[in-house]
Assembly symmetry: C2
Homo-oligomer: 451 residues x 2
Amino acid sequence: MKINEKSIEKNPTELLKKLDKLHPSDIAHSLKKIKKSNPDDFIFVLKNLPEDVLGDVILELPEKLREYAYNELTIEKLTDAVDELESDDQTDILQEIEELNVDKAKEIFDGLEVDDQEEINWLKRYEAGEAGAYMQTELFSANLNETISNSIEKLRIAKEEKELENIHQVYIVDDNKILVASILLEDLIIFDYKKTYKEIIEEHGEKRFKPYKVNDDELIKDVAKQFEKYDLSVVAVVGYQNMLIGRITSDDILDVIEDSATEQMYQLAGVHDDFEHDSFIFTAKKRAMWLFINLGTAILASMVIGFFDQTIQAFVALAVLMPIVASMGGNAGTQTLAVMVRRMALGEIDFENSKDAIMKEILVSLLNGILFAFVVGIITYFWFNTVLLGLVIALSMIINLFSAGFFGATIPLFLKKYNIDPAVGSTVLLTTVTDIVGFFSFLMLAKLILL
Amino acid sequence: MKINEKSIEKNPTELLKKLDKLHPSDIAHSLKKIKKSNPDDFIFVLKNLPEDVLGDVILELPEKLREYAYNELTIEKLTDAVDELESDDQTDILQEIEELNVDKAKEIFDGLEVDDQEEINWLKRYEAGEAGAYMQTELFSANLNETISNSIEKLRIAKEEKELENIHQVYIVDDNKILVASILLEDLIIFDYKKTYKEIIEEHGEKRFKPYKVNDDELIKDVAKQFEKYDLSVVAVVGYQNMLIGRITSDDILDVIEDSATEQMYQLAGVHDDFEHDSFIFTAKKRAMWLFINLGTAILASMVIGFFDQTIQAFVALAVLMPIVASMGGNAGTQTLAVMVRRMALGEIDFENSKDAIMKEILVSLLNGILFAFVVGIITYFWFNTVLLGLVIALSMIINLFSAGFFGATIPLFLKKYNIDPAVGSTVLLTTVTDIVGFFSFLMLAKLILL
């Protein structure tokens, strides 16, 4: 496709001329560049975008620019733009505007159709991580007793009015709106249109049309796992008594997977989600929190060293070498931790089968502990010309790498058991352990063997 | 859906009875449990799976069990299973069998239909990261001059023979097989079936049916980015002169995104992809490689400390405090690094706009450097009752956190410039810098100020 480079248009008038050929995502990308060189041009383009494009473009802008747009655009313009969107996007935009300006959000809401208002009120109740917060209520459904041709006619009208898109199947409900079946368009198109859905289902058997569905209060992370497991492109969302209320499509799930991987990586590194719009002071504050915790653990490690100040004074070589033990332990532990946290997140490791994983990690660390005990022991011997110093560092290397493996594997499981996200804080806990065990084992052995 | 728990069936006979109700992924999950308690039962179930399920189940097994299955199942059984699969999966399985047993793979290949053989030979040429390696050649296409009803009849036959599934659109090609348009089934179903595709396209305008397409040699990572950017559920894959050769669906892209996030996280932690089937000795070996590199940098840092052995002997407090400086620098740097690497991977940061990101990271680190200079300086003063020692650690804290931010932000960009994956090795490079800068600045300042 390689559309990206060509499609960046920094000239506002040129951009407006080319709208027809551009995806909202590309328009948003151009607008980012335009905003940088001239904020007035940015607003000029937004004001001149057709209403059926404006909302989609706003959604693709980074948060900072979205907020800028909400402030600069009129209530009328925003209402028209929101009106064209699907219910989940309408809800997102209105909630964002509400945070900036409650009155403006209310006026836009009042300008929408009553149906849309009801759907937005419904969707607003879901919490951030729930499936319901990711679903769109627009879908193609039909009653069991309807004929195919009748429902296709309804689809035709909905498509003409641009109320429906991205349709892969028709959801069949009974008179109580309870989801009964899901018939793919690829099947529907070859069936006899004169028949009712009931007849079709009886003819081919219910099993063939069994719908993939999730409850509206399921965690979106779990829904994402089902998409991966069953290779889905859409799921139906049901509420009370299996009543059909919406659907979630794969494009939303792509974002969920990408976001949760980012979150995990950031948590392991001790960073909060780092939104583009955050000021550097805000970011610094959030990161300082983790650095404070790290400082606490670093001071603990220093106190361990402090116990051995006389030993160090007697053998300054100990001060030179001790960071090696701590650093190797920290690294080996981080390796184990990353593998455990990621495999737990992917559902490959849970409590039931954790024993194998822990055993493997411990064996790996022990093996590497022995390997590096030799290597570092010999290097130390040649560096400081003392056999016993080599022995001390070798022994403490084994102890520290073993404990790095053991704690790297068990800390995430332990956190999960207490319902703490294993990615959060496990790095700090682990380095505390590897630093303390590293310094203590090395200096204690030195005190016992060398003095 | 919550299918997972209920659907695990550890009794082989019971499992075979319930096949109808289970997704291949659930059968594979049960088989994993069965294999653990009794390998013979595992093979018993596989041998008794219907051939149209066996292939899909094998694909869902972990690599180790797949290999076990390839060895235990007969050529006939495997040929029947492979015959039922789509071209991309056929190719994957055959390539895996080839690695275990070239002759067996050849006999299975010879047992397939000629069409399948040609497609497999074509797909085998693609390299691992190329779009072509992820595409399936099975798709619903039609000639420009065909009527809709004619092509729907072909779809009906293909579906009856179970040759096609997961169809969202019909791809329209001209007489030279060049991809011209893509018409969604949701549109197709409401058009007049008596018309030819050419008439439909002329009537509604080409723009409406513009296909999303990628070249077969594009990187799958870039294709995944387009899925995210344009909210796609399928793309067409074209080869020489835009000839239609396949398609990639969102379920493959979900795996690509998940896998590349895992890869990134592992690379940051210095772990190779850690396949479930690796023996612990193999894993230990791969990790030892990174630990060796880390050892090298740790020794460098130790040598820096070594230069100041007399300073340390004079002030043992330096040995107690120096890990704090290094640890804070390492942590602040890791925060920056994680954000930069991830945002680069997500395409949010490239060279063009990197200046803002670098500036922000430096400001954040500097701000936190100043904050922690005060905190640590004061703690040190109270701990060791020496104003100058507090001053030394405060100054070196600013220097080290600043350099952590600077190098954390620039190392990944620098690596990318030289076409090295920014996640690989950036952690080691960074901690080398923060350790050396941390120890050196702290001990040098101590020598200058305290002695």
